[in-house]
């Protein structure tokens, strides 16, 4: 039994990220690269670190190998603690057999023993899929002040996007009066950010109840919160103002990367008071050759730029050859771009090789092209190999 903690965080990191296609073929969505040197999960872990949360359970499920290796014992985020710290919580086999996490609520249910070790008063449930900087401690203060059973962080989104989220109706005292998960015709544009603070004793009851319910999909948004609504519990909204982005699709991942290139980006990575921590790739400084040109871009250590880079994000260890053009693109780590290659509006997966003279995407096309992790793109016509029967 550890020392009592006021609040522990449970970070849902099992997302498959289907809509990210080839980028998540061998990778859980929270481990997807973002912003030149980070992975998506760095943002929530850094938020925990800056909010004074020292006990974080990371719930993994889909393709955990790379993610587990990346997280290690949590040192980059200051979570290598004697008491508390980071624990990776995959589904496991119990005496009566084991099951995968059936839903977000079930994932927490299966790890109630972990939470109870710390005897917390509150539990923060967050997801490793979003990009934002938020002080969870301020939200906890709000939760305590309102005396709510659950507090849900909400952000105003454009009306046309509201149907992608769980939306909330909120009264003058921040009380949530209605909650709808992905409504077809939204009647509110306050979206749930998937950041919840529960009073643990209340959540515990609902998790046990929900587990016994046959018709439940064991999901926070679809089952637990509606059930709490029905029972007349005190649900409070905490309104968040700032940058928040769900990078679940190729387009939104690309857009969120491009957002960083504004003169004064809404998400300031250079903020010294709220550093985003990550595993340091430890590469030498970037080298910009004579004859190269880099404008409106982000470039990371270990990269060697000999061509033209415009409105793009280059991760660590990227090389671009002479006379190459990289425009409005996201180039993930260790990608090699050959001489004279041209890349427009693309996301190039880690370790891909774009050979000399290859052209990817087009300056006149709005669609985002994706090159898979480790793919080698040549100018040669692709020969389909016929497998011997």
């Amino acid at each position: 039994m550890g020392r009592k903690k006021e609040m522990v965080a449970m970070l849902l990191a099992g997302g498959e990220g289907k809509r990210l296609g080839v980028l998540t073929k061998d990778l859980a969505k929270p481990a997807v690269y973002f912003g030149g040197k980070y992975r998506i999960i760095d943002f929530t872990l850094s938020n925990c670190a800056h909010s004074g949360i020292d006990t974080v359970g990371v719930l993994t499920q889909y393709q955990p190998l790379e993610l587990n290796r990346y997280l290690g014992i949590g040192s980059p985020w200051g979570l290598d603690r004697k008491d508390g710290g980071m624990a990776i919580l995959p589904p496991y086999v119990k005496q009566k057999g084991g099951v995968w996490y059936k839903g977000t609520a079930n994932a927490i249910y299966q790890n109630m023993a972990f939470i109870e070790r710390y005897d917390p008063t509150y539990v923060l449930v967050i997801s490793g899929d979003h990009i934002y900087k938020m002080n969870y401690d301020l939200m906890l203060q709000h939760h305590k002040k309102t005396g709510a059973d659950i507090t849900i962080a909400g952000i105003e989104v454009p009306w046309k996007e509201a149907s992608r989220f769980g939306v909330m109706h909120v009264d003058d005292e921040d009380r949530i009066t209605a909650f709808e998960e992905k409504p077809k015709t939204p009647t509110s544009n306050i979206a749930s950010m998937g950041v919840y603070i529960f009073t643990w004793s209340v959540l515990q009851k609902y998790l046990i109840y929900d587990e016994g319910s046959r018709n439940s999909s064991h999901d926070f948004g679809k089952d637990i919160i509606p059930a709490m609504m029905r029972d007349g519990l005190h649900l409070s909204a905490y309104s968040f103002r700032g940058y928040w982005k769900d990078v679940g699709t190729i387009d939104s991942l690309w857009e969120a990367n491009m957002d960083l290139l504004d003169d004064k980006p809404a998400l300031d990575l250079a903020d010294k008071d709220w550093r985003i921590y990550s595993v340091s790739p430890n590469r030498p400084a970037q080298y910009i050759a004579s004859g190269a040109s880099v404008t409106s871009s982000m470039v990371t250590e270990g990269s060697i730029v000999e061509g033209k880079v415009e409105r793009s994000v280059l991760f660590f260890g990227v090389t671009t050859g002479k006379n190459s053009i990289v425009c409005e693109s996201v180039i993930m780590p260790n990608v090699q771009i050959g001489q004279g290659a041209r890349i427009y509006r693309a996301i190039i997966g880690e370790g891909a090789v774009i050979e000399d003279g290859v052209c990817i995407g087009s300056p006149n096309d709005d669609a985002i092209t994706v090159v898979a992790v480790g793919e080698i793109v040549t100018n040669e016509p692709v020969l389909l190999e016929v497998e011997p029967s």
């Binding site: 912003g35 030149g36 040197k37 040192s75 003169d263 990575l269 250079a270 550093r275 985003i276 921590y277 990550s278 340091s280 430890n282 590469r283 030498p284 400084a285 970037q286 080298y287 910009i288 050759a289 004579s290 004859g291 190269a292 040109s293 880099v294 404008t295 409106s296 871009s297 982000m298 470039v299 990371t300 250590e301 880079v309 994000v313 280059l314 991760f315």
Partner: protein, 370 residues
């Protein structure tokens, strides 16, 4: 490493003509190569050679050193099987601090005696290279040498100061002299010495008993006929960074692709303390060529043939040429900075014009506002 080797990085009385760069820091922590400190190179070389027990003989002004190396975790030196040991002077009397390095070896003799490792590699912090000690120790054993000195033939010292040595056809060292000596020889010492730990302890005790204080000048020099002292020629890049001009020129030499490729990409990784800086930002007005840029920089102006450390801000219309700008430097709008070395946190206000020359670069001390 299959050999039983401990490393010692000896910072005691390192030759230091770095002017204001070492006013508040020791030579070992002088920033180098856009994101490193000098000591990173030898520390990383040792670790990459499989030496996982390293003692650093701190001597003076070592606050920045302690801050930089910390527990050694950035070099993977903080696990059960390894260790970084910072050994400051252990003296009763303040005057003893100025005594030679042999005295400090003696003061820390318990550290050496307690260890079961057979060999010692003693090195300095100001020899910038990426070197593998494994073949050196192989050669040391194969030649049945008492001491092996790593050295460099026809080194381009770029104004740095190195000890000259003479070697015979078999590689045996026949003569050695101090840094300021006049002997003509094409062989420069890299101040890296391999020997058995027993021999080191014996040299320490006998030399001190004879009133001798310095490891190289006394313990090794004066026994050059009696001991089998061999040279091992290092083939790769070397910068001897102990004068201001060699500091400037060797930083500039990193801009040659063949140099950075060799130093940073061919042998093992050079490790340093992480800083969690975001990637560098290049704004729409940025013009950068032939430069090394660290993370955390924000570039709105022009940068040519220069080295920018982490968190440097080049504002609109500013032009930086042939310069080294250390951490968090801030170059104001429309200022010109040419052939300059700006230490950490230097702020150049707008419309300034600061020029040095290649042979005499302008140096601004830490936190200076120009």
């Amino acid at each position: 490493m299959k050999h039983q080797v401990m490393g010692v990085i000896n910072l005691i009385h390192e030759t230091d003509d770095m002017e204001r760069l070492t006013q508040n820091r020791c030579l070992a922590t002088v920033p180098f190569g856009a994101r490193y400190r000098l000591i990173d190179f030898i520390l990383s070389s040792m670790v990459n050679s499989g030496i996982n027990k390293v003692a650093v003989f701190a001597h003076t002004k070592y606050r920045s050193l302690m801050d930089h190396v910390g527990s050694g975790d950035h070099w993977d030196l903080n696990n059960r099987q390894s260790g970084l040991f910072l050994l400051p002077p252990a003296t009763d009397d303040i005057q003893e601090v100025s005594r030679g390095d042999l005295y400090h070896f003696y003061q820390h003799r318990d550290y050496f005696n307690r260890s079961t490792l057979e060999y010692v590699v003693i090195a300095r912090s100001h020899m910038v290279c990426n070197i593998d000690f494994e073949p050196i120790i192989e050669a040391h054993k194969a030649r049945e040498a008492d001491i092996t000195v790593v050295c460099k033939q026809d080194a381009d010292l770029m104004g740095g100061k190195a000890r000259k040595m003479r070697m015979d056809a078999d590689g045996r060292i026949t003569a050695m002299q101090d840094h300021y000596g006049r002997m003509h020889s094409s062989v420069s010492s890299m101040e890296m010495y391999v020997m058995r730990k027993d021999l080191l302890m014996e040299l320490v005790e006998t030399s001190l008993a004879q009133g001798q204080d310095h490891l190289v000048r006394h313990a090794i020099f004066s026994r050059i006929d009696k001991l089998r002292v061999y040279g091992y020629l290092h083939e790769g890049y070397l910068a001897v960074v102990n004068t201001l001009s060699s500091f400037y020129q060797s930083n500039m030499s990193l801009l040659r692709p063949e140099v950075w490729r060799e130093l940073f990409f061919q042998q093992g990784t050079v490790f340093t303390k992480g800083k969690d800086e975001p990637p560098a930002r290049y704004l729409c007005t940025s013009k950068v060529s032939n430069s090394l840029i660290a993370n955390g920089c924000r570039i709105e102006g022009t940068v040519e043939n220069s080295i920018l450390f982490r968190g440097v801000h080049i504002r609109k219309g500013a032009v930086v040429r042939n310069s080294i700008i250390m951490q968090n430097g801030d170059i104001g709008e429309n200022s010109l900075v040419q052939h300059c070395i700006l230490d950490k946190d230097v702020r150049v206000q707008y419309d300034r014009d600061i020029r040095g020359s290649f042979d005499n670069p302008f140096l601004a001390g830490k936190r200076k506002i120009i």
